[in-house]
Structures are given as C-alpha cells and as structure tokens.
Amino acid sequence: MDFSSINPVLLAASLMVAATPILLAAIGEMVVEKAGVLNLGVEGMMIVGAISGFAVAVETGSPWLGFLGAMVGATALAMVFAVLTQFLLSNQVATGLALTLFGLGLSALMGQGYVGIKPPSVPKVPAGPLADIPTIGPVIFGHDAIVYLSLLAVLGVWAFLKYTRAGLILRAVGESHDAAHGLGYKVVAVRVAAIAFGGAMAGLGGAYLSLVRVPQWTEGMTAGAGWIALAIVVFGAWRPGRVMLGAYLFGGVTVLQLTLQAGGVAIPAEALSMSPYLVTILVLVIMSADRGRAAFGAPAALGRAFHASA
C-alpha cells in the first residue's frame, strides 16, 4: 500500500471537524442520561438546531448569533420533551422517537426558504504564528471557535460531574431518584435542566453541520448523526473522556476511509465504515448482562419516570 499521498496533518485536522457535531451532541446527551433521562430525540434536536442556526446566521449575517439561535431552537424542542416526560410522565423512549420525527418534519418546514443559500462563514480562531508551526500548527491551532468549545465542554462536563456538588446531585438523581427525592432534591427540576443542556448541545452540533461542516441547509442533512451520538454515549460508558474518544474515533474512521480512497489506497471501505457500529453493538451486548451494566456505569434510574407520590 502506498500511503505517501496522504497528508496526516490535514487528516487529523479534518477528523476533528468531522467529529465535532457528534461530540457536542453526545456530551449533551451524556449529561441527560447521567440525570436518568433517556432522550432519543437527539437527531430531531440536532436538525432543528441546524436549521435554526442556519436561518438566524443568514438573517443576521452573524454565525455567532446563528449558533446561539441553534441552541435556543433545539432547547425549545427539548423543553417539549421535558414537559411531556417530566410533568405528564409519558414514556421516554416513545416521546424521544416522536421528538425526532417531529424535529425532522419541523426543520423541513422551517427550511423551505433556505435551500441553496450560502451562510456567512465562520472564521478560524486567529492563532498568529502558532498556526504556522509545522504539524501541530494546523491540527491544534487551525480551527474555529466551536471546535475548541467542544473540547472545553468535555472538560467542563467532566469537572462538573466529578468535582461539584451540583454534579453530585445530578448523578444522584440519575442513580436513584427516590433516594435523591428523599434527601430533598428537586428531581424534576434537575432533570429539566439536564434536558435543556442536552438540547442546547445537540442544537450547537446541528448548527456546526449546517454552518461549518457542509456548509449549507439541506433537508434531512443530519443523516443519522444524532443516532451515532446516542450510540457514542453508550460506547463511552457515560464518561466524558471516553465519549470524546468515541466521537473522534468515529469521525476519524469516516474521514480516514474517504481520504484513503481519494489517495488511491485500496482498503475495504465497507469494513471501515461498519467498525464504529460494530463496536457499539458489542458494548451494548456486554452491557445487557447485569454485571456488565454496573461495570459500564449506566445510571441505575436511566429511562425510569419519576413522580413524587410514587
């Protein structure tokens, strides 16, 4: 095999871009699940974020307002989920699936007037001479602010869950909502806040697709990225570092196989495309054994409805 035509620096830089949307959505969903809520509507929230962000960016000319608009739009959708599951106690799995279907339809409707428009471009963070350092320059210093924000989010979530009292409460709610309630914590309020955070991050991830990675609006453009984010939370065993690893691995494999093909290296493209899914299935199988579940650290109250009288 001849790898000489592949530029590893460009490859590393582009895999970070490819991984950022799913990383953002996955880290948000991880917090939601840590609070004991399973929101399968990530795909729907991402795509609503993608169009909200795109529309706001186009109308105002500012990509930053666009990202903000994406977070607001997707959070609004997440709040529908929160009201249904936390106050009306609907089934989380069914509601999440409905949220995805609704989000896809809603985004198509919202996006009617935005097909074929070019969004304002997102500038790279000026790193001055640092960006010219060979090898690490383009990889570490050659990105836009959202890539760095996604890394900060991973770090922030990790520190929040591990070191803060609020993080401890959130985890307690996710492990045993009855015990947390008994201690006087507002289970529903904590969960609603977590769902809002998950929505905002999914929206940001969606807007990264429509404003940076593609960049344009096309109906259905998330094309399953939200489902991958969900799988990566499981793959990452609800730990921020591993979730990041999962997202980069997935983004990396996708970009790597395309780059290898473009460079004329003969590789079984199908096998590489499949690999992240295969690993996820494997983790799910191991998890489904009871002891495995505990070992992987799934929140004990994940997906269970809570009502103070119950």
Partner: protein, 358 residues
C-alpha cells in the same frame, strides 16, 4: 416525516371517500423516495415529476409520497402501506428498491409498480431509467478540457452498474481530450448524506483534484468546491443552478415528468403494461443544464455539438475501440455497446486505477 405521510394518508382517505360517493374515484399514484424532497437533487426531480402529474390531471389523480425511505426491509413496509392505502400505481425511485418492489408487487397483483433504474420486471412491474451516461460524456469532455492538475475526483455512491457506467463514460471522454487525466474515485456508500459528501469532496480536493463529479444526491459537494474556490463541479440529477456560474459549470437534469404523465395516463385508460424504458437526451429524459461562461467558448461549442449528436442518435458515448481495465478488448473499432452489457456493467474501462468494491 412519517407524521406528514400519515396526515396525507388521512386526507387522502377522506378525499377518496368523497370521490367514491359521487362516482369517480381518482387514480391514486404513490411515490417512494430515498431522500427528502428538498435534497435539491435526485429526489427533488422525482417530486417535480409527481407535481407535474398532479398539475396535468387535476382532480383525476391523487398522489401520495413517502420520503427518506431506506433501501431494504423498510422499503417493503412503505410500499405495502401504500398499496393498502389504495394506491393504483406506485413509482419506487431508487435502485435499492428493486427486490422489495418485486416482492410487494407479487402480493398486490392489481397494483401497478414502476421501479426506477433497476432491471427486474414482472407482469405488474415496469422499469424505467435514463441514459445518464450521455450526460456524463459531456461532463467528462468539459472536465478533461478544463482541469489544470489533470486530476478529476468522482464521488460515487454504490458500486452498481448505473454508477460504474457514469464513471466509465466520464473517464473515456475526459481521456479523449486530455491523455494525462487521472480519475480518483471515492465510494461513500450512501445516496444522501451531506456531511459525508462534503468530507469526500474535501478529501479529494486536498488530494489535488480540481474537478469534482458526483453521483450522490445533495448539493454539499458543490458547497465544498465553492469554499475551495478553484474547483469546478456539475449539477447532479437536478440543475443546482444556485451554485452557478462557478463552481457549477453545467449539470445533468433528470426530467421524469413526461414519463410519469404518460404512465399515469396508461394506468388510467387501462393500457398499462409492463415495459422497460431507457431514454436519454434524444427523448428528453436527460437534459443538460446551461453551460456557464466559466467554460471557454470553444469547449462549450464542442460540448454542445456532442449533445446535438446524441440527441440525433448519431453518437453513442460507448463507441469502440474500448478496452476493459485488464486490457482485454471490450469494443472493437467502430462497435457500439449493446444495452445488455451497459445495464450489467461491472468493470472499469482501461486507464482507470483502483478496484470496484463488492
């Protein structure tokens, strides 16, 4: 999306009931789409065909559609659902619906099916396709003339004959005008995934190509080329005029409307029978979108001459001498490829590097 279809179905049932009451039941025509109707490419053009049917027949027809139907088991479910809703004629518009269409058609002998781009037929299944390779010949010619790096990128979807035909046709015509040209083919294994299509385009551009041809349905590669600034592209399946005059310098437009109207008419007056249609530029099923001023005038004139020759059926893009990739002779001097070989094409022509995945 499904919700919308349900609403449509509910509305359709109501309408059908009303129509039945006063004695004329409209013909119900269903469409199964692989992507969203707003993809700006393949599915968009099929939906334009559907709208043309509605426009042409008014209240004598009623159309229903379902978008984003994955190729495979889900497709069978979607088609069954449509047949159960009372559709009389169902167009299934992606290659991967071939076996599902045959299976569902066997269960509903009274419903007529039309499968796009496939090769399996039965008493109530017709197939139809367009000779996209004629358009690819024009693209190859322009690409070969305009490339400066002599590297042309090709975003391919699935390794099926239709896609391979397109690659071969484009390559032969690029090579004919530029002996140094090289093709770099990337298989993405999807018809529609804007992010992946954009990544593929970027990977190709990073590798030095300055022309990107695509056989996927979204406009994402166009956006990636626009961002790069010095790369030309061609609209695929739809005009994609929003990206003209540069990077999009021309396009292949699929015009399904006349066919859909003719077949709906046939189903209406009972003359429908299973046929195999494969039309090209001459019949108007394949159209070439405007060649913009970014193309040098002499190249544009040559491309237009080629289009005219194909429209008059004087020129066939696969005219010998052509060798297969392994060097064996496929077509001798002056021979023209027969449709059977073209429909089952599973080999590259001589000069293309790499292997076709399985």
């Amino acid at each position: 999306m499904k919700r919308r279809t349900l609403l449509l179905a509910a509305a359709a049932t109501g309408l059908a009931g009303a129509a039945f009451a006063d004695g004329h039941e409209p013909l119900k025509v269903g469409f199964v789409y692989v992507g969203p109707v707003g993809d700006g490419g393949w599915t968009y053009e099929h939906d334009q065909g559907r709208l043309a049917v509605e426009e042409h027949f008014g209240d004598k027809v009623e159309t229903i559609f379902q978008e984003n139907v994955p190729e495979g088991a889900d497709a069978e479910r979607a088609m069954t659902q449509m047949a159960l809703q009372g559709a009389n004629l169902i167009f299934t518009t992606s290659f991967g619906y071939m076996d599902p269409t045959i299976n569902v058609a066997a269960q509903f002998p009274d419903v007529k099916f039309e499968h796009a781009t496939g090769y399996k037929r039965s008493d109530n299944v017709s197939t139809y396709s367009a000779r996209f390779y004629e358009g690819r010949a024009v693209q190859g010619h322009i690409a070969g003339k305009m490339t400066e790096t002599n590297k042309i990128g090709y975003i391919a979807s699935f390794p099926i004959p239709e896609v391979i035909r397109g690659i071969n046709s484009a390559y032969l015509h690029a090579k004919a005008v530029n002996p140094d040209v090289e093709f770099s083919v990337v298989w993405v294994f999807t018809w529609f995934d804007p992010a992946k299509e954009a990544d593929a385009a970027r990977a190709l551009i990073a590798n030095g190509v300055d022309v990107v041809l695509q056989h996927t349905d979204s406009t994402a590669p166009q956006a990636a080329a626009q961002e790069a600034g010095n790369v030309i592209t061609f609209g695929q399946a739809s005009d994609m005029a929003a990206f003209g005059p540069f990077p999009r310098v021309s396009s292949i437009i699929d015009n399904w409307a006349p066919y859909y109207i003719a077949r709906t008419q046939a189903a209406m007056d009972g003359s429908w029978e299973s046929v195999d249609t494969w039309d090209g530029i001459a019949e108007g099923m394949v159209e070439i979108g405007e060649i913009t001023d970014a193309v040098p005038a002499d190249v544009k004139a040559e491309a237009e001459a080629m289009i005219a020759a194909m429209a008059a059926k004087e020129y066939h893009p696969f005219t010998g001498p052509i060798n297969k990739q392994d060097g064996s002779v496929w077509l001798a001097e002056g021979d023209v490829a027969d449709d059977g070989t073209l429909l089952g094409m599973d080999f590259y022509v001589e000069g293309i590097e790499g292997e076709i995945p399985n």
